[in-house]
Structure formats: structure tokens, C-alpha cells
Amino acid sequence: MAKIQITADHVIVKLPLWRQILSLSTGFTIPLENVRGATMDPGAAGEPKGLRSPGTYIPGVLTLGTFYRDGERTFWDVHNRSRVVVLQLTGERYDRLVLEVENPRTVVEHIEAATRPS
């Protein structure tokens, strides 16, 4: 499960060590202006994932790593699909992050509050 921290100007995504190893990713530090939105989306895990490179895909159990579909690059870290948050990005290596988090509602509310134009 990813841990998401929201600072004054960044969203920081931290992954457990074994997930870093399997996904070949150390996590992400994304400037808030590059976050277009965050959405609670338990249904996202039912979507076709596309081509995996690199990553781990055990259908219904674990989707972890980088996947390509329709010209888009998405990072997945989902085991329990009921707690999924989708972050849509711009100007980043990934177009989208699909992450399982502890409290999706809180994450979405915090990101929305942080990215709202003042």
C-alpha cells in the first residue's frame, strides 16, 4: 500500500521496500501544479491494464508497476481494489497513478484542498 504525504507544494508517494523492488520504482515526488486531480475509484482496478514494463501482475491479487495503454503510461500499486485513488498528472513521467491507500477519502480531500486555486 502506498503512503501519500501532501506538503505545501508537493504530493509525495512512498512505497514499501518490497514494492519498490518489484516495481523498480522508489516512489514519486510530484509538484502540486502537475496534479490535475484525485478521485476515489474502486472500479478502476477492473480496467484493462495494458502492457507491463516493468512490474508484477497477478490478476485479482496484485497490480504493481508501470503499464502502457493507448499511449499512456500509468503506475499501478493495487492489491485491495476497494481503496483505490487515481491521480491524474501532467508534465510528469506518468500520465496517471492508480494507488491503493489507507484512507482514499482523506487523500482526495487533502489533494483537492491543496490544488485548489486560491
Binding site: 490535475r36 478521485t39 475509484d41 472500479g43 478502476a44 499511449g71 491524474q88 485548489r116
Partner: protein, 155 residues
């Protein structure tokens, strides 16, 4: 480069207005949006960024196309009574208290209605619409306007 958008953005926003005017924001899932709006999940995220992004686009379109024209002589009361401003009503009750951007949009629209109807009539008409939606019968606005506030003291 991704595939070109295979959907009509205007049509998606129009359908979103209908959906968000009939159900609470929280009860509309992305699965609902994909099903009702006929748009792929990835396209939805790519175009609107999030569910909230789509909601804001729908709310702004609703205010510009359904509320603003009422300030130019269209029958505002009829529009409220017929439920054509239900998205504004829902936004005011449900989302404005927790979302500053929604609150600003709602305030903008209520300013237009106040200018057209006056604040009291706007409040009464929206309140009457709330009661109607709840299935509670309510006297017509013309009767409300004509009755004293405390009938028992009236002579």
C-alpha cells in the same frame, strides 16, 4: 501521443449535468459516470482530470446555459419549479459548504437570480423546490406571498 478523443465532450458534460442533478455527488461513482456518460474511464481522467473536474465543468455549463439566460427575461420561477435548476440547488446544499470553488459558482448564480427575482423570492422558490423534491406539498408561491407570517394573530 494517445488516441484521439472518441467522444463528444459537450454531450458528456450535458449527460453529467443530468446525472449530478438527480443524485448526490458522493453517490455518483466513476463506474456510474463511465456507464451513464458512455465515455471510457481513461478518457474521462485525461479530459477532466478527476470526478470533481467533470463536476465543476458540468456545474459551470449548467450555470451559463440554464441560469444566466434567466436574467434576460426567461421565467426564472418556472425554471426553478420545473426542476431545471436542480444541479444548482444540489450544489448549494451539498458541495458548496465543502468546496470553495463550488461555493463561488453558486454565489455567482444566486446573485443573478436575486437580481432577477429579489432575494426573498429566490429563497422561497428554491426552498419550495426542496419541499417538492421531498414529496411535501407546499402552497403556491403566490399564496405564500399573500399570507401573513403569523396567521393566528391576523384579524
Amino acid at each position: 501521443m494517445g488516441r484521439p478523443r472518441s467522444f463528444d465532450e459537450n454531450q458528456v458534460i450535458a449527460s453529467a449535468i443530468t446525472l449530478f442533478a438527480s443524485r448526490s455527488y458522493d453517490s455518483v461513482s466513476v463506474d456510474d459516470l463511465v456507464t451513464h456518460l458512455g465515455v471510457h474511464r481513461n478518457s474521462l481522467y485525461k479530459t477532466f482530470g478527476s470526478k470533481r473536474g467533470l463536476y465543476l465543468a458540468a456545474l459551470r455549463r449548467h450555470l451559463d446555459q440554464d441560469v444566466r439566460p434567466l436574467t434576460h427575461g426567461e421565467p426564472a420561477l418556472e425554471a426553478i419549479e420545473a426542476g431545471r435548476l436542480d444541479l444548482l440547488l444540489f450544489a448549494a446544499v451539498e458541495r458548496a459548504p465543502v468546496d470553495e470553488e463550488v461555493a463561488a459558482e453558486v454565489a455567482r448564480a444566486l446573485t443573478w437570480l436575486d437580481a432577477e427575482l429579489g432575494g426573498l423570492l429566490t429563497a422561497a422558490a428554491l426552498g419550495r423546490r426542496v419541499r417538492t423534491r421531498a414529496g411535501v406539498s407546499t402552497p403556491a408561491l403566490s399564496e405564500l406571498a399573500g399570507s401573513p407570517p403569523h396567521p393566528e394573530t391576523a384579524t
